[in-house]
Symmetry: D2
């Protein structure tokens, strides 16, 4: 993985502010755990309303935090006037996620002028172990003027 | 697209029951609009808590109903004792979705003994037009004994 | 699917010329069968050197013509000075392909200023039937100055 | 990444034999560089007939060796009577590949009884540097009785 140079020295404040303004992120309850150049971690605690019919966390919820971690990882590298949009994502579900804490890690693999390719992985942490729940690849586009 | 023969004559009741038991589907508020062999439609009305930071519907929400439509489309073809799991999904976001009604259509392209390939598309319907918001491909696995 | 307006009235000649200049396309032996706005078909006859170890056509070959059909479908909509690059592709293999003729159809789903989302499908045609071999989604980028 | 226990002590001989029997792999000229449990590397030297219209290696060629590395990585973990099929793959093209040597690395992320999720990456090595050309995720299915 490359080392990345942020275009906006104030990227941490900007990512945090954007995250705090997301109604859906607040609705499901994720928290920002790490904001570094090209790297963002988001945690999510289990809540019953996030489950699917078998009691596991809904795949759409896991995908949502995987996507969010990817998008914010790219945003750490955006210029101050540039926002981010997900253009496509692909995820593989490796194991079901139960009642532990989910941690989604977005890591920029290729930073571009317009398109950024980001790897995203979600693990579930319980008292005695950590399991790999999801791996994916996300394309994030920089959009001038999108805050 | 092929014509499909359900293995469970009672598939409509079974899909509906499973959908009603999903905490997350109820949490975001989707409704089942169509349940036919290999074909399921799910609708979702805009609510402010489903938005991302720019006021559009969060990509994770759109992906969730796209995934759910795909999974239930495959479930219409499952034997009575067989449940469904998403093994992987890939979506392209075509346009942002605003305050209209989202309609996700899951259509089985290839039905298998174990793996089913399902196309999924989401449109947003407003008073005066319908726009294509997402297209995707989802692999759904049949799992014996999973209700 | 939308109807598309080509930006280059001479798009058929341009796509054909580009296809004819591809060493790899000539190497495996594909032929352009259709070039319309947003739609390109490529055919490929079975040859023993295109097989994998079980005698079926190699997945990489099928993916290659699926990708090419998608790229040229987007190229029909490019301005005269703009070339195309595949940024990402996702394919599902539905059935193995044997000794018939493969037909790859690229269809633009969303035409953009920079990014185009293209559906691609490959069928195998033998004397008595046509089977669906591959379905996929491809993102094609317009690049100014790339011939 | 997990450590993997091969089910077939003779996996190296089996993978090598299968690779040598592939007409297409021989046609484009790849070579097996590493065969370990869950890990396979394939190298490919530039040849003019593998190029697309701009002189870079054709995306279909790069995808082919990425897919092959993934499939053989999974095959190292298969029981003696079990073969492998690619069910789906997703790749992002990070940079164009020129006239160096390509190295595709397949790494099993999740080994299963039926489905294996494999990460695949391709780099181009020239005299003075190594660049990341492709990253992808591939699902490989175990099929009983397929040699």
């Amino acid at each position: 993985m490359d080392a990345f140079e942020p275009r906006d020295a104030d990227f941490r404040r900007r990512v945090t502010k954007s995250f705090d303004l997301q109604p859906f992120a607040n609705h499901i309850g994720g928290t920002l755990e790490r904001v570094d150049p090209g790297e963002v971690d988001i945690a999510l605690k289990y809540k019953p309303e996030l489950a699917q019919q078998h009691g596991y966390v809904h795949g759409g919820v896991i995908t949502s935090i995987a996507d969010a971690a990817a998008g914010y990882a790219a945003m750490t590298l955006a210029a101050p006037s540039v926002g981010v949009l997900t253009t496509e994502l692909k995820v593989n579900f490796l194991r079901p996620a139960g009642k532990g804490v989910l941690l989604a890690k977005g890591r920029v693999i290729k930073a571009g002028r317009t398109l950024n390719i980001v790897q995203t992985d979600v693990t579930e942490m319980t008292d005695d172990k950590t399991v790999h729940v999801l791996t994916g690849l996300v394309t994030i586009m920089f959009v001038e003027g999108l805050e």
